[in-house]
């Protein structure tokens, strides 16, 4: 801290007047003025109570001083936000969620305070239909290059010709297995559930997320990942309820448990799989031969966002290839942008966890929009958790 102890002393009336006059003349900054007069705390409370009361000084443009991002666990390089704050003066608050349903529920209940969030491909059409997200003003997103994006992964960001969301990265939902603890080789969801109830009894995890947990159970039974057929869902429920007493936990943030070896295997997203394998080589990442999910995560701006300029600024910052490269190296998810791909080091692009062979991707399915709002899948998941 650079402040001296004097900063905390009560200020005299004449000193306050002097400081105020200097502040009015503009010879000191607002921050200095508030600091020396001890009004900082009062002002920070008041300025939130009265919007616009202290907006006289803005950092770089009109971005304000803070914003909020809703994203997934272990999904960013913390340095990205530190650098963004250095560049713009905007501090970024990161909130973490474990499912798209949770984000949707928050937005539906109103007043999330998010200025940017990270929905998955299959949810965007619903968000657009419910008018919970804004169409993007592309003029504020000059760093984005549609031409270098791979449409296979990014087409769902556009609904009826209007762009609502820009791609963050794509990825897969597979399984991470600690081979020091689990000796049975696993290559399918069918085997995953079998081993979870036998060799890895009490040590396996599933997501707190209907799409992947129900989806993988469906796949293991030979059905589609996206099924909403009631008889197939009933079979999946039966399997999950049988599985539940054997589980270690139901949680979408499985990295801490995998790292501490409390859990031995888990349903896992590409980026977490890559991070775990990087730090603990005994943890391998496997895609189901019988199926599973392939996905793209996007950035979108909620209609209710309080600081949209900052939301756009951060989005544009993240779309800049130089910044995106660092993000991708840190979080280990595959990019949708060929500009970024070209800049990534060879050890990343040759990593089979991050960029699997096309053949391994063939059985995988993208999530379907209907699964987000289907009441039976929602209730099945809630019932499974409460069972």
């Amino acid at each position: 801290m650079s402040k001296s102890y004097k900063d905390n002393l009560p200020i005299t009336a004449s000193a306050l007047t002097d400081e105020f006059m200097r502040f009015k003349r503009g010879s000191v900054t607002r921050r200095h003025f508030l600091g020396v007069t001890g009004l900082g705390l009062a002002a920070s409370v008041m300025s939130r109570g009265l919007p616009g009361a202290f907006n006289a000084e803005a950092f770089a443009g009109n971005l304000g001083t803070q914003m909020s991002l809703a994203t997934w666990p272990n999904y960013h390089d913390p340095a990205t936000f530190e650098n963004f704050t250095k560049a713009t003066g905007v501090a970024v608050e990161v909130n973490v969620f474990g499912s798209n349903e949770e984000m949707l529920a928050k937005l539906q209940a109103g007043g999330t305070g998010w200025d940017l969030f990270v929905p998955t491909n299959y949810t965007i059409s619903t968000y657009a239909k419910l008018k919970l997200i804004d169409p993007l003003d592309m003029s504020k997103l000059s760093a984005f290059s549609a031409a270098t994006e791979s449409p296979r992964f990014t087409h769902e960001g556009t609904v009826d010709g209007v762009t609502y969301a820009l791609p963050k990265n794509w990825g897969t939902t597979g399984m991470s297995i600690n081979t020091a603890k689990v000796k049975t080789p696993i290559s399918s969801w069918k085997q995953y559930f079998e081993v979870a109830m036998t060799e890895a009894d009490g040590r396996a995890m599933v997501h707190d997320y209907q799409l992947t947990t129900i989806g993988s159970a469906l796949v293991s039974l030979g059905y589609s990942f996206n099924s909403i057929k009631s008889d197939e869902l009933a079979k999946a429920e039966e399997l999950l309820i049988k599985l539940k007493p054997h589980l270690y936990g139901i949680n979408s943030d499985y990295q801490p448990a995998m790292r501490s070896t409390d859990a031995w295997m888990t349903m896992c997203w590409t980026n977490d799989g890559a991070q775990l394998a990087r730090d603990m080589p005994e943890i391998i990442y496997v895609l189901g031969k019988d199926g599973g999910e392939i996905w793209t995560d996007f950035y979108a701006i909620p209609k209710s966002a309080a600081n949209k300029p900052a939301g756009y600024a951060l989005l544009n910052y993240l779309m800049t290839p130089e910044n995106a490269v660092k993000e991708h190296i840190a979080n280990g998810a595959p990019t949708t942008d060929s500009r970024v791909l070209a800049m990534l080091p060879a050890d990343v692009t040759s990593n089979k966890i991050v960029y699997p062979d096309e053949a391994a991707l063939t059985p995988l399915e993208f999530g379907a929009a209907i699964t987000l709002t289907d009441p039976n899948r929602a209730e099945l998941m809630a019932r499974f958790k409460a069972a």
Binding site: S44, A91, V96, G111, G113, S260, A306
Partner: protein, 273 residues
């Protein structure tokens, strides 16, 4: 017996000791203890979001407990004067405010306010003279309201119990000596019930400051300290959280010591006026 008591205190304090210890950890994770450092205190104090959450929590707790202390005391005095049926109704509501689980209070407040805002906002917008009418929404107001409900019921109960032990005779004596009812209250009743009001206020403050589940539903875009901590548990707790918890603990310990000290020096609770 002594071994058992020692074990109980160890049980109570082991996690707290761990929190304090980890707040001085130089490493980032609880699992790697790499050395002694006070760096996390600096980080915590310069983390805008953490500080803002702390500030929000202090403000919400102070206002909700303060309002609860004032309105609760007024209610406790007014209940004396209420008819039997009114008093029973009020008693029932107060009891309900205390025993209904926090999670239900949170949900019910959310559900009711969502509807209420949807109803009020268009009306206000239609009547408002300019183009930017105020919007009702979740935030400090809704947290204070929901916390204040429990707190007010708590204060009312505590103050009422104290009033019940007061002799009527001293109040009547005061009236006989031609004191106005207000002066009787100020000079006779208030000094006697003040400790009850204060302990009600402190309980209410503690409750609000530590509440997670009610605020979880009604906080809107505002973050209180427990909500911030809950979010960071999911994000991976850094020693920053341990540092701020240690600071809060130290502050409350100092407050306890201070109140002990002040209590000891006060000669008697009877005012000298």
């Amino acid at each position: 017996m002594r071994a058992f008591i020692t074990a109980v205190y160890l049980f109570l304090y082991a996690p707290i000791a761990l929190v304090v210890l980890l707040s001085f950890n130089a490493g980032r994770n609880a699992s790697d203890f790499t050395g002694f450092s006070t760096a996390w205190y600096g980080k915590a104090l310069s983390n805008t979001f953490l500080m803002q959450a702390l500030e929000n929590s202090l403000m919400v707790a102070f206002i909700s407990a303060g309002l609860a202390a004032i309105y609760g005391t007024m209610a406790a005095m007014g209940l004396e004067r209420l008819g039997k049926r009114g008093r029973m109704l009020f008693d029932g509501l107060l009891a309900a405010a205390i025993v209904v689980p926090g999670v239900v209070i949170g949900i019910a407040t959310l559900v009711a306010l969502v509807q209420l805002f949807a109803l009020l906002n268009p009306i206000v917008a239609a009547l408002w003279p300019t183009d930017s009418p105020p919007q009702f929404g979740f935030g400090y107001g809704s947290i204070i309201a929901a916390h204040g409900l429990f707190s007010m019921a708590l204060v009312t109960m505590i103050v009422r119990a104290r009033i019940a032990t007061l002799g009527r005779d001293i109040v009547e004596a005061s009236a006989d000596l031609y004191a106005t009812p207000f002066n009787t209250f100020r000079l006779i009743v208030l000094p006697q019930i003040f400790p009850a009001i204060l302990s009600g206020f402190l309980l209410a403050f503690t409750f609000s400051f530590d509440d997670f589940i009610i605020a979880f539903f009604v906080c809107g875009s505002k973050t209180t300290l427990p909500i911030y901590i809950f979010a960071s548990v999911r994000r991976g707790v850094t020693p920053e959280i341990n540092a701020i918890a240690t600071l809060v603990l130290t502050a409350s310990l100092l407050l306890i010591l201070l109140s002990r000290f002040l209590m000891r020096d006060r000669p008697s609770p009877v005012p000298s006026e």
